[in-house]
């Protein structure tokens, strides 16, 4: 089962292209994503960042006509292989969305539900507490666990969504612009949280905020439409964040990170 496993990396893409019908939204991406690191995906809007991210846990399965070519490996297993169960994939690769989307249930239930459907048999109260602690939300909500999640602020809701994801104990957490709908203080807390989480998880985050990428990530993938006139996005440069921001190889990356883009 674990043949071919490259312990250092948790995700590897090989010539991955993603199509909506005949439209190739993302073309020929090959990269290695390191374990227990934060990898940021940056780039102008519409270049396929979300598309790429959502292909990693097969959320794109729900988009009719969306399909991929190439390979997407998680610890050696091709996630698009014919014998792979997409539900298992999503269980192992959690996701936090752009807009906080808690369930219209109590705070407690928001976390317990995912654990329950995934067959969790341990102490639920303990799991809820630990998840909330890991998401740095426990202190704020420990007395109101029975309240509706909708009564929390936007930033709290987003941390609840993170807690909910942690509770199912995934290997990888995907985040699609998790702070873009939040105020600066909430954003800061989420960023701090990421630093905490990467001790245990591999994190891939999409952001259009350069500073954020620079602050939180270890690696950065720079995406662009691959050429003038084309509408396909691709990763034009992928390396350590430091390098991307201080010494980019690609001229377009340099223009973009220094704000000369567009």
């Amino acid at each position: 089962m674990q043949i071919n496993e490259t312990p250092q990396y948790s995700i590897e893409t090989k010539d991955l292209s993603i199509f909506y019908g005949t439209f190739k939204a993302v073309s020929n991406v090959s990269m290695l994503i390191e374990k227990q690191k934060v990898t940021a995906i940056i780039g102008p809007s519409g270049c396929g960042k979300s598309t790429l991210l959502r292909s990693i846990n097969r959320m794109n399965d729900f988009v009719p006509n969306c399909h991929v070519t190439g390979e997407l490996l998680m610890r050696g297993q091709n996630l698009y292989g014919s014998n792979i169960d997409p539900v298992e994939v999503r269980r192992s690769i959690g996701m936090v969305f752009q807009k906080p989307n808690p369930f219209p249930k109590s705070i407690y239930e928001n976390i317990a539900w995912g654990a329950r459907i995934n067959g969790f048999k341990g102490n639920m109260d303990e799991l809820v507490e630990q998840s909330l602690r890991s998401a740095a939300l426990w202190e704020e909500v420990k007395d109101v666990l029975k309240k509706s999640a909708y009564e929390l602020s936007g930033g709290q809701q987003q941390r609840l969504c993170i807690a909910r994801t942690i509770a199912i104990q995934p290997d990888i957490i995907l985040m699609d612009e998790p702070a873009s709908a939040l105020d600066p203080i909430s954003t800061l807390r989420i960023e701090e949280l990421m630093q905490e989480l990467k001790k245990n998880y591999t994190i891939i985050i999409v952001t259009h905020n350069m500073q954020q990428a620079a602050r939180v990530s270890d690696y950065t993938a720079m995406m662009m439409l691959d050429k003038e006139g084309s509408r396909s996005g691709t990763v034009i440069e992928f390396s350590e964040t430091k390098k991307i921001f201080t010494n980019p190889k690609d001229k377009r990356t340099e223009d973009y990170v220094t704000g000369r883009f567009g």
């Binding site: 846990n57 959320m59 729900f62 009719p64 539900v87 298992e88 999503r90 269980r91 192992s92 959690g94 996701m95 936090v96 969305f97 807009k99 989307n101 808690p102 369930f103 219209p104 539900w113 995912g114 459907i117 995934n118 509706s148 909708y150 969504c161 909910r164 994801t165 509770a167 199912i168």
Partner: protein
């Protein structure tokens, strides 16, 4: 044309033409509004017409003089005396039949009083007057009654009474009630919903959550929209051919050992009505499911929920108020539908409460239809009363739907 040439009216003359444009506009606006006024007036006329029929003066005669049965005035008799009169004057067969339906000793005094009136004295209604005439032209009504029917008693009557609700059918308008009809309607609607709600919701879930955009699913969707527009009487014909006739052994209950019935049962009517409201339930269900935001589904999928887990735990609970509202609307539709029931053979005269799905039955709108099409005006009066009962029932249902809709405020 030289751009500096001015062919437009200027100043005062422009203002005049503008004013006349405004005048035309306001006339039309008034005309548009009058359409709504007509709608309002029609509604008012309809309601008034119904109420007008349900109350008013009645001129009636006794076929047999009460004095033949009792020396005392009937109103002063106690229960035992009434019972004795019935025993003495009814044939043994008739008395035993009544006794079998409900033990005579156990009946209330007013029941017995009604029986004496209905069976022995026998009321003969000569004429009824509308509520309006009875109130505003009371003297003329009295004069007319005195002239035409010198023997008759004149009485202001409300045809809609609590007794009307709890009495079974009778061939005499004065003694008829809607008890059997209401029970028949409830049974029928119950079966219809039991059949259509699970299937309709299932179909709505399939179409919204599973169906891809392929040919088959497009056909299903178009077909459902079309079924919603098929005339109800065609559903009646379908029910007649399939439930009443082809499936008679099942719908009559004969495979369950019930022998005295044919396929024209509550079950046939309920299933027919279920098929009739099915498209309505599906379309409403689809709307309700569509209103559940996608972010909720994504959240569930994102933590490894399967499709059904997502639907069952998140989509359905959030769509539930909408689905409920939709089924209440379906119930309202089923309660008011008449034509399919005529076709599948609702009986028009049933005085026994329906006992189960294999009973013959009548329904509220069937009674209204029957009574409306009778020539005697006293039947129009009970038709009007039955309409009031039906409308109140529908109003209650719709109020319930509104309350459900408002109770569950949208959270997202």
């Amino acid at each position: 044309m030289n751009p500096t040439d001015n062919h437009y009216p200027e100043g005062q003359s422009f203002r005049n033409s503008l004013n006349s444009r405004y005048r035309v506009a306001s006339i039309w606006q008034a005309l548009f509004f009058s359409a709504l006024l007509i709608a309002m007036l029609s509604l008012a006329a309809l309601l008034y017409n119904v109420v007008d029929g349900a109350f008013g003066y009645v001129a009636y005669e006794y076929k047999n003089d009460p004095a033949e049965f009792s020396a005392k005035p009937l109103d002063d008799l106690n229960k035992q005396e009434l019972l004795d009169i019935l025993k003495a004057n009814l044939s043994d067969g008739a008395y035993n039949k009544l006794n079998n339906e409900q033990a005579m000793e156990k009946r209330s005094k007013s029941d017995l009083y009604t029986l004496v009136l209905e069976r022995l004295i026998q009321i003969d209604t000569k004429q009824t007057w509308s509520m309006t005439a009875s109130i505003f032209d009371a003297n003329e009504v009295k004069a007319e009654a005195a002239k035409k029917y010198p023997e008759a008693k004149l009485e202001f009557r409300s045809w809609l009474t609590p007794i009307f609700l709890t009495t079974p059918m009778s061939s005499k308008a004065e003694f008829a009630g809607v008890r059997t009809a209401i029970l028949g309607s409830l049974w029928m609607v119950g079966i219809a919903i039991l059949f259509a709600l699970p299937i309709g919701t299932g179909a709505a879930i399939y179409l919204q959550e599973y169906a891809t955009k392929n040919f088959l699913n497009r056909i299903i969707q178009t077909n459902i929209n079309n079924l919603a527009g098929v005339p109800s009487i065609v559903y009646g014909m379908l029910g007649l051919a399939i439930f009443v006739r082809a499936l008679e052994p099942f719908t009559s209950g004969s495979i369950f050992g019930i022998t005295d019935s044919n396929g024209r049962t509550i079950l046939s009517a309920g299933l027919t009505m279920g098929i009739l409201v099915l498209p309505l339930i599906i379309i409403n269900g689809q709307e309700a499911i569509k209103a559940v935001p996608d972010s909720l589904r994504q959240a569930a999928y994102g933590i490894g929920a399967t499709r059904w887990q997502t639907i069952w735990h998140h989509v359905l609970p959030n769509a539930l108020p909408g689905i409920l509202t939709g089924s209440i609307l379906a119930v309202s539709r089923a309660i008011g539908e008449t034509a399919p029931l005529i076709v599948v053979g609702a009986s028009t005269f049933i005085s026994l409460d329906p006992e189960g799905p294999f009973s013959k039955f009548t329904a509220l709108p069937i009674q209204i239809y029957q009574w409306t099409t009778r020539a005697q005006t006293e039947f129009h009066s009970i038709a009007a009363s039955a309409i009031i009962v039906l409308l109140v029932l529908l109003l209650t249902l719709n109020a319930a739907a509104v309350i459900i809709r408002n109770r569950v405020q949208r959270k997202y």
